[in-house]
């Protein structure tokens, strides 16, 4: 751990969907910089190995089974975190499920919309509702010792729409609007709220590449930096910036972290 740069020593962070992919990368990067990380995963089978691996690397992490499709589960995670560690400074809501390719005209709401709506729209608001009190308390600490941060993981598709998964885009667009609204609402409390729109080598994308190597070539070809992002070094580092003191005057923004593929903001 002992990495140079931003220190999150003493801070406590919840990362939802941290049992794999982008959430795991973010959890690892925050822990590397001193944060105590709650690996909020739907299943302990995925979350506990990540937490154990972070601990094995010298970091502080614990897995709390959290189903973000249920408001009471989110509330329980926050309550557990504060009871166990005495504070909550950072929430990164990354968990997401339900992205199934479909035609819009044939979409069945309970099949093609519900999961994405629950994990993006509902959970983004519910995480905010449950965490606000503690994030505000963090922002009342002296600079360098705290600072409430709420980070939502959205997608470039939440800006430009999607021809493959049309209902994915509005679910992700909602998160940008929530970030802007909460940036206004929570600014007086000193809490910053921002989004990251990543393209990264998550397990689902790697699986897609294995099935269709041409997809990887196509993505790399359209990406100025010529590669797909790394979950820790590329995405986790942006999350670290938004979680730490260096971003204390940045709020309501979306950082697109996709190697320059999307330039439409």
């Amino acid at each position: 751990m002992n990495r140079r740069g931003t220190s999150l020593a003493g801070r406590v962070a919840i990362v939802t969907g941290a049992g794999q992919g982008v959430g795991e990368g973010i959890a690892r990067r925050l822990a590397e910089h001193g944060a105590t990380v709650i690996v909020a995963a739907r299943r302990a089978e995925t979350g506990e190995p990540v937490a154990a691996s972070i601990r094995g690397d010298g970091g502080s992490a614990t897995c709390v089974e959290t189903d973000v499709t249920k408001g009471e589960s989110i509330a329980a995670c926050v309550t557990h975190t504060v009871a166990e560690f005495g504070r909550l400074d950072i929430v990164v809501h990354n968990a997401f499920t339900g992205a199934i390719p479909h035609r819009l005209e044939n979409a069945v709401l309970d099949k093609h919309w519900k999961g994405m709506s629950l994990t993006a729209g509902w959970a983004s608001l519910q995480c905010a509702r449950e965490a606000h009190l503690h994030l505000a308390a963090s922002s009342r600490r002296p600079r360098g010792e705290g600072g409430g941060r709420y980070v939502l993981i959205t997608s470039p598709s939440g800006v430009e729409g999607s021809a493959n998964i049309p209902l994915y885009s509005p679910a992700k667009a909602a998160q940008r609007a929530i970030a802007k609204s909460l940036a206004r609402e929570w600014g007086p409390d000193g809490i910053t709220v921002n989004c990251i729109a990543p393209v990264a080598a998550s397990p689902s994308l790697i699986t897609a590449f294995d099935r269709n190597p041409a997809l990887q070539q196509a993505i790399e070809a359209r990406t100025p930096l010529g590669r797909v992002g790394d979950i820790t070094d590329d995405i986790g580092s942006v999350a670290l910036f938004l979680a730490g003191d260096d971003s204390s005057y940045v709020t309501g923004q979306t950082i697109v972290c996709d190697g320059g593929s999307f330039l439409g903001l």
Binding site: R129, E160, P170
Partner: protein, 177 residues
Amino acid sequence: MTSIVVGEGRLAEALRARVTAEMPARVIVPPLVIEPMRVVDLTDDDIDRMWEQPMRTLISELQRAHGDGCRRIVVVVPTIGQSGGAEYAAVSATAEAARVLVKSAARQWGEVDVTVNAVAVAPEVFGIDTAITGPISIAPRALAGEVDPSDTISFLCSAAAGHVTGQTIVCDGGLWM
């Protein structure tokens, strides 16, 4: 004759009286639930009313418009989706989701020559209180006078707009840019 405008409230009524279309068209005013509320006060029932149900209605209306053979589809939203607004997090989420759903629909339905666009109007048009949201723009509105979006919507429902799709035309007198 059935109106091409779907939706309730004063905005929908005004558009029903003024919007014209040269071809099969549908103008959708989503049923946004306009109630200022801090996020810490949102109950799950509030989220359902302000986010889930309006989105489900909008998706269904878009599907209905496609099924009815409409060649031009326009969704009217408030600019609060783009700007955000204090105490309107759920409403702004729904507005922005609606605006971006338009882009997805445009991408899929372009292959059958259907255009789908959004017209964004000032938040007050939907009854949103900008004394609560915070300023929509750092600059004052560029144009004075009453803003009527019906001509812009009529244009998007015309043959002349056949290569305009997936776009948002902000029709608020030059406030949000």
